[in-house]
């Protein structure tokens, strides 16, 4: 298992100009680890990160879109796997931070913990590629290649909580930052 923030630091080192959609705990950490106007955290309701990422990928096919989804979040919107596979955006990389719990809501285990496979679900839904990483060195070695591959790709990141980062839900859903994102895209 990887510490989530260490896993994100690896991704941040390989990031160029990708849009990154992040939800809940991942978002709280990502905005500190890789601050950018191309961070999109305005997903509105639990489970909706993958759908926002699809909209961004379809609206800007010239840019790569990475979504840092949660396992509980994706379970709330499993149909989006089929929707994404059907729309088949080549520029979308769907990372699931699998920690096995609803971490933001009391760390209660998700249903199916240690039994379900997100990569199997994605492949069955029609994602052409999927990966699982549970060792930081493997993720470090492969992430650059994964970021360049045609999507949609599902990447299951097996993580545990790492360092504590300050929570700021108002920042995550800020209209001001959403407008900054829109302006950054227009440049």
């Amino acid at each position: 298992m990887m510490k989530r923030d260490e896993c994100f630091k690896v991704l941040a080192r390989h990031r160029t100009d990708e849009i990154v959609v992040a939800v809940y705990q991942a978002a709280q950490e990502w905005i500190h680890i890789s601050p950018s106007d191309f961070n999109y955290t305005f997903t509105g309701a639990m489970g909706q990160g993958s759908s926002h990422a699809l909209g961004l990928a379809l609206g800007r096919p010239d840019k790569r879109v990475v979504v840092l989804d949660g396992d509980g979040s994706l379970l709330m919107n499993l149909g989006s796997l089929v929707t994404i596979a059907n729309a088949a955006p080549k520029n979308l990389i769907h990372c699931v931070c699998e920690n096995g719990t609803y971490e933001t809501n009391g760390a209660v285990p998700i249903p199916g913990v240690n039994r379900l496979s997100f990569t199997a679900l994605a492949r069955a839904a029609g994602y052409p590629k999927s990966y699982e990483f549970d060792k930081l060195e493997d993720w470090e070695r492969e992430v650059g290649k994964v970021l360049k591959e045609d999507g949609p790709i599902l990447v299951d990141l097996k993580v545990t909580p790492g360092e504590q980062y300050p929570e700021d839900f108002r920042r995550l859903y800020s209209i001001e930052f959403r407008d900054r994102f829109r302006k950054a895209l227009q440049k």
Binding site: G44, A45, H52, L54, G55, L58, G59, I175, R178
Partner: protein
């Protein structure tokens, strides 16, 4: 008097909408959604659940595109939390065209015999979401200004389709 599906599609295009996010509804499938799927000027994104569509439309707005979410009223009811967070609190101009399956012709939705239909407008009012009934031929002209207003205010709008367009 019939509601013209062709006129509705023309108004949608006049409103600069090129993305349609859809889940089939019997009221609109045959004469709106199927022609849209064949229309090279429109890109239709099919979703598995309507709340996905609220998010996809919001994100398309962030990229500078206008989109329409074409669904049934039951899907609207199922999407309330996504509308709450994504469209209202997130201030996204999510434009929805919502089929009122089973509404009696000429009867106001709040007067319908069907409970599910009667509650639609009061729920939208409670949420502060602007809505318009598109049922008579002349109602089609409400579409373009309603979409324009949604984008001006950066807030959602619901266009309720009161009878099957032909």
């Amino acid at each position: 008097m019939e509601l013209s599906a062709n006129e509705i599609i023309k108004e949608i295009k006049r409103a600069d909408i090129r993305f349609v996010v859809a889940l089939p509804d019997r009221t609109t499938s045959e004469h709106l959604l199927k022609p849209m799927l064949r229309d090279p000027e429109l890109k239709v994104v099919q979703v598995c659940k309507e709340d996905e569509g609220v998010s996809i439309c919001s994100a398309l707005y962030a990229t500078g595109h206008r989109a329409l979410l074409l669904i049934q009223y039951t899907g609207l009811l199922d999407s309330i939390n996504s509308l709450r967070g994504g469209a209202i609190e997130g201030q996204n101009p999510v434009c929805m065209m919502v089929g009122l399956l089973g509404k009696e012709p000429g009867v106001a939705p709040t007067q319908s015999k069907r409970y599910g239909l009667r509650i639609v407008e009061p729920i939208l009012d409670a949420m502060g979401i602007e809505h318009h009934l598109i049922e008579q031929p002349e109602d089609v002209t409400k579409i373009t200004p309603a979409v324009a207003r949604a984008y001006e205010r950066s807030l959602p709008v619901v266009l309720l389709i009161g009878r099957e367009p032909r």
